[in-house]
């Protein structure tokens, strides 16, 4: 692997997603070319339905494109099979979702421990606990998601993402379900954690103020990148 490729955490080329709809075809993403450098923070902005989440899903290998390729940290994502992509995600990626996606049967601590446990990391409980302390939830370790506020839930989700020390964090409207003040708190925390760990960040948002905190903004309109 050459150094040139290594500086790119994400390199997407000619990425299209077309789905059948009714009689014809619906183009959701149209020939997206995108490169994100390691350590960079990039915001993806655009109107609702412009294809932001779809793009994020493709970058993470959660879905397959109709055409095009994605290289993550130099590895060709779609040359791998489902499990291969999953293994790559396990090594590289952290996620934060708009709807938090905490497991309701697990308490805060266990939710944070889960990825560690799945990866077989030793000392999961200690790592998870210190991460929860870092996001300011040291007192809420044993609480279940349904007893946490939205902001708290999203903090747990952040802790869950960062505890794996990912090289790349993908966040899909992390503040979409939160009020402005709470959202701002979560965003501050996310940027702080990001800076500490030197993580590459790709953030989908509606909020221009949040987008401006990233080094670069990519605007999607009808599945195409503009400007």
């Amino acid at each position: 692997m050459t150094k040139a490729i290594d500086k790119f955490m994400i390199k997407a080329a000619g990425l299209s997603k077309v789905v059948p709809s009714g009689a014809g075809q619906l183009v959701i993403l149209h020939e997206i070319d995108l490169a994100v450098m390691a350590g960079e923070a990039v915001a993806i902005v655009g109107a609702s339905g412009s294809g932001k989440s779809t793009l994020l899903g493709l970058l993470a290998g959660l879905d397959t494109p109709s055409v095009g390729s994605v290289h993550l940290n130099g590895a060709d994502l779609f040359a791998l099979d489902e499990d291969g992509r999953a293994a790559l995600r396990a090594r590289l990626l952290g996620f934060v979702f708009q709807s938090f996606q905490l497991l309701p049967a697990l308490n805060a601590l266990e939710n944070v421990m889960l990825p560690l446990e799945l990866a077989g990391t030793a000392g999961a409980a200690q790592l998870a606990e210190s991460m929860l302390e870092r996001v300011g939830l040291a007192e809420r370790l044993g609480h279940y998601p349904k007893h946490l506020s939205g902001g708290e839930q999203q903090r747990v989700a952040l802790a869950r993402a960062f505890v794996m020390q990912p090289k790349l964090l993908l966040a899909d409207e992390p503040t979409g379900n939160l009020d402005a003040a709470t959202g701002a708190g979560v965003i501050d925390l996310m940027f702080a954690l990001n800076a500490e760990a030197g993580t590459t960040l790709v953030l989908v948002t509606h909020d221009d103020a949040i987008a401006r905190r990233c080094q670069r903004q990519i605007r999607l309109v009808g599945g195409r990148i503009v400007a």
């Binding site: 989440s53 779809t54 994020l56 899903g57 993470a60 959660l62 879905d63 489902e82 499990d83 999953a86 293994a87 790559l88 995600r89 396990a90 090594r91 990626l93 996620f95 979702f97 709807s99 938090f100 996606q101 497991l103 309701p104 049967a105 697990l106 308490n107 601590l109 266990e110 421990m113 889960l114 990825p115 446990e117 799945l118 990866a119 999961a124 409980a125 200690q126 606990e129 370790l141 044993g142 279940y144 349904k146 794996m164 899909d172 379900n177």
Partner: protein, 836 residues
């Protein structure tokens, strides 16, 4: 460190997941379903096993032992030593026919000499005087005394205390023998009984080499030891020796036990089916609640195989734990019944075997595998993209395809439980068909209701529209409810019908006296005598004793057969009868009953069991000879007998003309009501007749039947509990959805009353459809069971059609009240938050 942390130990991940899911209440219904399933299977198993043992023991009373060895010469010490070595109790018996005298009177009597301890199973009954109240006794005649039966004491005209001469010795008449448990083994040629001690035999001088005596060795002990001894002894028997065990005991008893086995098997099967439904329902619910979690874990990069293994292990661990708890519960349950039953049985029930534990575990794990695996496998197909696009769920498979494995497992389990193909196949086929039909009908009905719901109040319209919108989940719920209710209806209505039909197979007016050896010229005077003594409608049968000498002109003898019973039968004389019409309770299974031509030319009808043993087929020519006469007649029909009926049954029945050359006597059966002196009067009037009182035997058979029925009813109770659990699981299956929907409606401003009314409309439709389906299902299954499996006449029961819909409505009403209330009281905020 904080307490939360201390609890995070280093357990394997599946165990931790199990712990967490358990704590969160995710698995409770599933676990409960499994526990109850295994508990009912094992308790049925344990209990059936114990009752079976007890019944076998009861039935063994008719042998007087667990194993009875018979011989025409004294037993070799080897056989006794082995029995002693195996810790088995043994007593001796010697029987022969000899003249007993008292003063001037003398009578040929069947002498039986026994050692102390006889009989090992069952009890003798004696009375202090003729016609006095009798009672059970644990003793045998003391040395120097004899016990005579009613008939012998009447014939000799003696009373207890008198002297009886037997061979070279004199013995004291000690008591009147009223019941000998192993007496019922042969109806014919029974001389009146004289019971004495083996120790007194030498003094009589009657037993010498060459004298015709039969030797019995009664052996009894634990079941395992008795069975092992039976196996050990069989190949070591010499010429003239054989083993009598339950397998070749009276057909009446055998068929009663077989039917009991069927009933117990049936109830166990019902429990298994219900368990399957409950497990399928609760796993379905579990997976639906775990779709998101699964997608998130995929997102973290967990491999499919690993995640599947994780869930699978979690379930296996849960399964093993639930099976263990179920087994313990099952054991406790049956112990309680056993305790309750011993008060009725008097004799203590033997300890249950270990086999049911095995059975319980196998059944539990098989059910889990068959019905939990398919939904778990579906989980495997949940795409990770679900974390971003919520509407993406597990790809839908048809329910039937998903549960093919489960159905196969269930079929295997049922056949195993039934221990009999026909019963197992009928029940499985019945439920599979019911399942399919229920599914189709409920989908159709939901559509229909949705059409009905176009008009009416908002709540009504909304509620009925829901039926359609959630048609899949609702159909599942209806099918499950209907299956549960079907079983409950079967258990409450059909069970009673079936058991009652079985009970009444032994009619209350069944004959209790058999009289044999009636000479042709005595038939009319006997009928007259009976009429004078208040006996109505005696049935008489002509009887001819003859040996089967050839089949299709080829001579047959014991050497032609390997089957032990065939060998024994062929060398004996058969009791043949001839008649015009087919005897009651007989059923022609091949060929046809005698035609006018058959009456002219002579023909024979053969019983199916003996035909199989002796290799006789329709159209064969059979040669019989006896009393200096012989005939050769074709087989024109094969008959099945009704062994439950206590009627005399004949292996061979010919046309009347065929047997005219043979010396015939007659036998008569009739019912005598409480009349202790009847036998005495009869034998005084007709000294040559042999009267056999089968009322004791009938009492025995009836008592056994009663116990069996009680046991069966109790075992049915477990299936009932399982049925209730299925109903519960079915109601739970749509609760999440309903709760969230109710919250949503309220969040949108619906009043509580409106939400409740909408749910009531929906529930009403669900309960009605499920109830009607259950009535139809129970009726159909009951019909097939009665007509095909148990062979009882079927009766339409209108009550089922009332109870079914009512029960269905009651179920959902209860659910609406419980679950609906919870849904309504659940703060909308919380429900909505859980739902995100």
């Amino acid at each position: 460190m904080k307490p939360v942390l201390q609890r995070q130990n280093n357990l394997p991940l599946p165990l931790k997941m199990l712990q967490r899911d358990w704590r969160a209440g995710e698995l409770r219904v599933l676990a409960l379903a499994l526990v109850i399933a295994v508990a009912s299977v094992t308790s049925v198993g344990f209990f059936a096993d114990r009752v079976w043992q007890a019944l076998t023991r009861e039935a063994n009373q008719m042998l007087g032992a667990d194993v009875l060895l018979l011989s025409d010469h004294p037993f070799a010490p080897e056989l006794r030593d082995e029995a002693a070595k195996r810790g088995l109790a043994q007593v001796d018996g010697v029987s022969f026919v000899s003249m007993a005298r008292a003063g001037d009177a003398s009578q040929l009597s069947g002498v039986k000499a026994v050692s102390a301890g006889y009989p090992l199973r069952g009890k003798l009954r004696i009375a202090p005087r003729l016609n006095a109240e009798d009672a059970e006794t644990d003793r045998v005649p003391p040395p120097g005394t004899v016990w005579l039966d009613e008939r012998l004491s009447a014939a000799l005209g003696v009373q207890p205390g008198d002297k009886i001469e037997l061979g070279n010795t004199q013995l004291i008449f000690g008591a009147v023998l009223t019941l000998e448990p192993d007496r019922g083994l042969s109806f014919f040629n029974i001389a009146p009984r004289l019971l004495m001690r083996v120790e007194d035999l030498p003094a009589t001088g009657l037993i010498q080499t060459g004298s015709r005596a039969r030797y019995q060795l009664y052996v009894a002990g634990t079941r395992a030891a008795a069975e092992a001894y039976d196996r050990w002894a069989k190949p070591r028997l010499g010429a003239g020796q054989r083993i009598e065990s339950l397998g070749n005991a009276r057909p009446e008893v055998r068929s009663g036990l077989d039917r009991a086995q069927q009933f117990l098997g049936l109830s166990a099967m019902l429990a298994v089916i219900l368990a399957a439904v409950a497990i399928a329902l609760s796993t379905r619910r579990y997976t639906q609640r775990h779709l998101d979690g699964y997608a998130v874990m995929r997102c973290f990069g967990a491999l499919q195989g690993r995640l599947f293994a994780l869930f699978a292990w979690e379930f296996v661990l849960l399964g093993v734990a639930a099976c263990a708890v179920g087994c313990i519960l099952g054991y406790a349950g049956q112990a309680a019944i056993a305790l309750w039953l011993t008060e009725l049985v008097a004799s203590s029930l033997p300890q249950p075997g270990f086999y049911p534990v095995l059975q319980g575990f196998a059944a539990g794990l098989l059910l889990l595998l068959g019905f939990a695996l398919p939904p778990l496998l579906q989980l495997k197909n949940v795409p990770a993209i679900r974390v971003i696009r919520r509407e993406v769920g597990a790809p839908r498979q048809s329910a039937l395809a998903a549960y093919a494995l489960g159905l196969a497992a269930l079929a295997a389990l049922l056949l195993w439980q039934a221990g009999e193909f026909k019963l197992g196949a009928t029940v499985f086929g019945g439920f599979a068909a019911a399942f399919l039909l229920f599914w189709l009908v409920s989908l159709g009905a939901l559509r229909l209701f949705a059409l009905l719901g176009r008009t009416g109040s908002v709540s009504w319209r909304y509620g009925l529209a829901n039926l359609r919108r959630r048609s899949r989940g609702n159909a599942v719920q209806i099918v499950a409810l209907a299956l549960g209710l079907t079983v409950l209806l079967l258990l409450t209505f059909i069970r009673g019908d079936l058991l009652e039909a079985w009970r009444t197979k032994l009619p209350q007016d069944a004959p209790n006296r058999f009289v044999v050896n009636i000479q042709p010229d005595q038939v009319a005077p006997l009928v007259q005598f009976l009429a004078q003594n208040g006996v109505v409608a005696p049935t008489s049968y002509p009887m001819v004793r003859a040996r089967l000498t050839a089949i299709n002109g080829r001579a047959v003898g014991a050497d032609d057969y390997t089957d032990e019973r065939a060998r024994r039968q062929i060398d004996r004389e058969f009791n043949l009868s001839f008649m015009q019409t087919i005897p009651p309770g007989n059923q022609v299974t091949a060929g046809r009953w005698f035609t006018p031509e058959d009456y002219a030319q002579g023909a024979v009808s053969v019983e199916v069991w003996i035909a199989e043993r002796l290799g006789i087929e329709l159209g064969d020519r059979l040669s019989f000879s006896g009393g200096g006469a012989s005939i050769d007649v074709p087989v024109t029909s094969v008959r099945k007998l009704d062994w439950d009926s206590m009627r005399p049954n004949f292996f061979f029945v010919t046309t009347p003309k065929a047997l005219t050359a043979f010396p015939a006597s007659y036998m008569s059966t009739f019912r005598v009501l409480d009349d202790p002196l009847f036998t005495t009067r009869l034998t005084q009037a007709f000294p040559n007749l042999t009267v056999i009182d089968v009322s004791a035997l009938m009492r025995q058979v009836n008592a056994m039947l009663d116990q069996v029925i009680r046991a069966v009813e109790f075992v049915f109770l477990f299936a009932l509990v399982a049925g209730v659990l299925v109903l519960y699981a079915a109601l739970l299956s749509t609760q999440d959805e309903r709760r969230q929907e109710a919250a949503l409606m309220r969040a949108l401003g619906a009043r509580r009353a409106q939400v409740a009314a909408a749910q009531r409309a929906e529930f009403f439709a669900l309960g009605l459809v499920a109830g009607v389906l259950a009535s139809a299902g129970a009726t159909a299954i009951g019909y097939v069971l009665a007509e095909r499996v148990f062979q009882f006449p079927w009766q339409f029961n209108i009550a089922i059609w009332i109870a079914g819909p009512l029960a269905g409505l009651a179920c959902v009403a209860l659910n609406a009240w419980l679950g609906g209330r919870a849904a309504l009281n659940h703060p909308p905020m919380l429900a909505l938050r859980e739902g995100t």
